[in-house]
């Protein structure tokens, strides 16, 4: 074959490939499975292995980039996905700062975005962004309601010295203050700290009726163990970032009785049969644990999955209006996600509106408690 005919043939093949992918939806994903958010990011990323090859009945291509839980990297990834890969929709990331960066770039580029962690932006900045996880205040409201029934009047707070610690505290205060519950301490620690003695003593000195820990994963165990070791006998609450089996493994007997809010997908077996989430969550958890080991269930993989479900529901509507790879398609997809109604996910039931880009209600939260070394639904 002469050089010219070879070039011609390759050009022909390339144009054929383009034609074939014209109907293909491209999803750009940036996640951090390394760096400080690795313990969450690994689960987020795992879930993508379980997704089907189609999205709303159309072929789909996922481009997954690694951002090492670094907001600057996440921003770089987002720009690359939008400029070079011409993605139709972007998903990410693992930490609040990273996701916020990506959301700003998505808005700038008029590309719809599925946020997989909470975003620190006011609602009017979320025109192109849809947030999958439950808002932190929604979760903490369940904790405060439980405190009210137990007659708690004062609560101590020990949380991470990062944006997560701030978010949990803010949500706790937002619900506790109107309920007449006073937050009496605001102690902070870092995930990698080897000791929280000072913080624990400060909390004990205030002698609150209950303690809320604003950590995540195994990081939530350190203050809990410290409090129990020094003889604190009252209720200790955690947040939804803490609910996994590693937390119980590290905390062992000391964390028995800990209460935390979480999505229903952690306990699908214990949900009542008439709950529509039971089926979706149950099937997802079963497939996830088949692939990644019994007991590997966690909220984060569920966020990726619910992001997929939202797109899955929205793509057919957008396809009817425009072709993937065009600005018209991105705009149509945005409108389709915004009009999503009763999309049953593993975490809750999504009803988006122009004002509410999270779309979750009280059905997206349950309280769980550590009983005999496992998280159990509180009835």
């Amino acid at each position: 074959m002469s050089r010219r005919s070879f070039l011609l043939a390759s050009a022909l093949l390339a144009s054929l490939a383009c034609a074939a992918s014209a109907q293909e939806v491209t999803v750009g994903v940036t996640l951090g499975a390394t760096g400080p958010g690795a313990s969450l990011g690994i689960h987020y990323k795992n879930a993508f292995q379980l997704f089907p090859k189609t999205l709303g009945g159309h072929p789909v291509k996922y481009i997954i980039l690694e951002d090492a839980t670094d907001p600057a990297n996440a921003a770089k990834n987002a720009r690359k996905l939008i400029a070079e890969d011409k993605v139709d929709v972007i998903m990410g990331s693992v930490s609040v700062p990273s996701t916020t960066q990506v959301a700003q770039i998505a808005t700038e580029a008029k590309t719809p975005m599925i946020a997989l962690s909470p975003v620190a932006l006011p609602p009017d900045k979320l025109e192109w962004t849809f947030v999958v996880p439950q808002p932190v205040p929604l979760m903490m409201s369940a904790v405060v309601e439980h405190m009210k029934t137990k007659g708690v009047k004062t609560v101590g707070y020990v949380g991470f010295s990062d944006s997560w610690g701030d978010l949990v505290l803010k949500a706790l205060e937002q619900h506790a203050n109107p309920a007449g519950i006073k937050v009496v301490t605001n102690e902070r620690y870092a995930r990698a700290d080897t000791s929280v003695t000072g913080q624990v003593i400060k909390v004990l000195a205030a002698n609150p009726d209950a303690v809320v820990v604003g950590g995540s994963g195994t990081g939530g165990a350190l203050p809990h163990l410290g409090l129990v070791e020094r003889g604190y006998k009252k209720q200790i609450y955690h947040n939804h970032g803490t609910v996994n089996r590693e937390f119980i493994k590290v905390g062992s007997k000391a964390v028995e009785g800990a209460i935390a809010p979480t999505g229903p997908l952690i306990v699908p077996e214990e949900l009542p049969a008439d709950n529509p989430i039971k089926k979706v969550a149950g099937e997802f958890i079963q497939r996830y644990e088949q692939t990644f080991g019994a007991g590997s269930r966690n909220a984060f993989a569920g966020y990726s999955y619910d992001g997929f479900l939202l797109l899955n529901a929205a793509v057919p509507g957008a396809m009817a209006k425009a072709k993937p790879g065009t600005p018209e398609f991105r705009s149509a997809l945005r409108d389709a996600i915004e009009s999503a109604k009763n999309v049953v996910g593993a975490h809750g039931i999504y009803n988006m509106t122009a004002k509410d880009h999270t779309g979750l209600d009280n059905r997206a939260r349950v309280l769980v408690q550590v009983k005999d070394g496992a998280w159990r639904l509180m009835k």
């Binding site: 499975a33 313990s39 990011g41 870092a190 000791s195 929280v196 000072g198 195994t218 590693e246």
Partner: protein, 346 residues
């Protein structure tokens, strides 16, 4: 603040300070002998603590495979060098040390993983897994660059740190682990509740510091290390191999790191990246000692422990900032009081 609280915080400070002191000593040791600011020192802690916890869970930790791979690389390098220079008889020794020994450790690890109740065996195996990383890292990363500037060595150290942290994530996952305590024994002295674990930390630190002193004052190897630290060229002139001194200092540093990791693994949750922060605090201690003085470094590390413990009571949100800001006045004071010696003038 009442006396009780002050006592509790002091107890916490001494326990943490003892661990930082160990790391400060290791950092000073490595720096004085090889001029390497050994950033990956903390990885020995994470590797040891997580390997121990993994063994207790009945699994063979990934560090064992890394040991085998590292040993094989060293064998390849040393073997090629011996082959080129015609010292074929050395090949056997090189193979035995770099391939035979890691294989033996791997067998021991597999054996220990089957016996979850034998804590002492598991600790011993953990030491045997982690300590050889010292000489392996020295041989692969630093020995070929021994004559380079401090800056180049620092950059290589940072690279090694990132490599080891990444491998730690692959081996142990993103979540933290904790090993089971050695004993539930605790001592009540007044208001203080002193656990056996924290006593072990303090006791072991003292023993190690004493052992290091003995090594440097009473043994030929220790004196060779000191000689290298004081004057590398002079030491080589009297027949002390710089490569051997470097390898020995890295072995000791790895051993100290591994012991520190085993000591704190039942007290706190260790992540694949925890070690770095712990060694950074040891580093602040070492800086207070000017990176040359062992007693000052140990005292500095203890100071870091106190600062950390008391600031976590008063202003927990600023604890880290307070500890690391300490470095600025110390550096200022040191640069004003010490005469600066250019590296080339040594």
């Amino acid at each position: 603040m009442t006396i009780d609280i002050a006592l509790w915080l002091t107890q916490d400070a001494v326990t943490n300070g003892a661990v930082y002191a160990l790391l400060a000593l290791a950092l000073v040791l490595v720096y004085t002998v090889t001029r390497v600011i050994f950033v990956p020192q903390g990885e020995f802690i994470s590797f040891a603590a997580l390997s121990l916890a993994t063994l207790q869970a009945g699994k063979v930790p990934g560090t064992v495979y890394l040991l085998i791979a590292g040993g094989a690389l060293v064998a390849l390098l040393d073997g090629a060098a011996a082959f080129r220079s015609g010292h074929l008889r050395r090949l056997f020794g090189i193979g035995l040390l770099n391939i035979g020994l890691p294989a033996l450790v791997a067998a021991a690890a597999w054996f220990a993983a089957q016996r979850p109740d034998n804590l002492w065996l598991q600790m011993l195996v953990t030491l045997a897994i982690v300590t050889p990383f010292g000489p392996i890292i020295y041989r692969l990363a630093f020995q070929p660059l021994a004559e380079m500037s401090v800056l180049v060595l620092l950059i290589v150290a940072v690279a090694v740190h990132y490599l080891l942290t990444g491998l730690g994530l692959v081996f142990f996952g993103g979540e933290g682990l904790r090993s089971s305590p050695w004993s539930d024994f605790s001592l009540h002295v007044g208001v203080l509740n002193i656990t056996a674990q924290s006593l072990w930390v303090i006791f072991s630190s003292f023993v190690l510091i004493f052992a290091l002193w003995l090594l440097f004052e009473r043994t030929l190897y220790g004196k060779a290390l000191r000689a290298t630290a004081i004057n590398r060229v002079g030491a080589r002139l009297v027949g002390i191999s710089a490569a051997f001194a470097g390898s020995l200092s890295f072995t000791l540093a790895a051993l100290i790191g591994a012991i520190a990791g085993i000591l704190i693994s039942p007290i706190t949750t260790i992540y694949y990246d925890t070690g770095f922060l712990i060694s950074l605090k040891g580093f602040v201690g070492a800086i207070i000692g000017g990176m040359v003085s062992y007693p000052l470094a140990a005292a500095g590390a203890l100071l870091v422990g106190f600062l950390e413990s008391f600031s976590s009571f008063w202003w927990s949100a600023f604890k880290e900032s307070i500890v690391f800001t300490l470095i600025i006045p110390v550096l200022l004071w040191r640069s004003l009081t010490t005469r600066h010696i250019e590296e080339d003038d040594e």
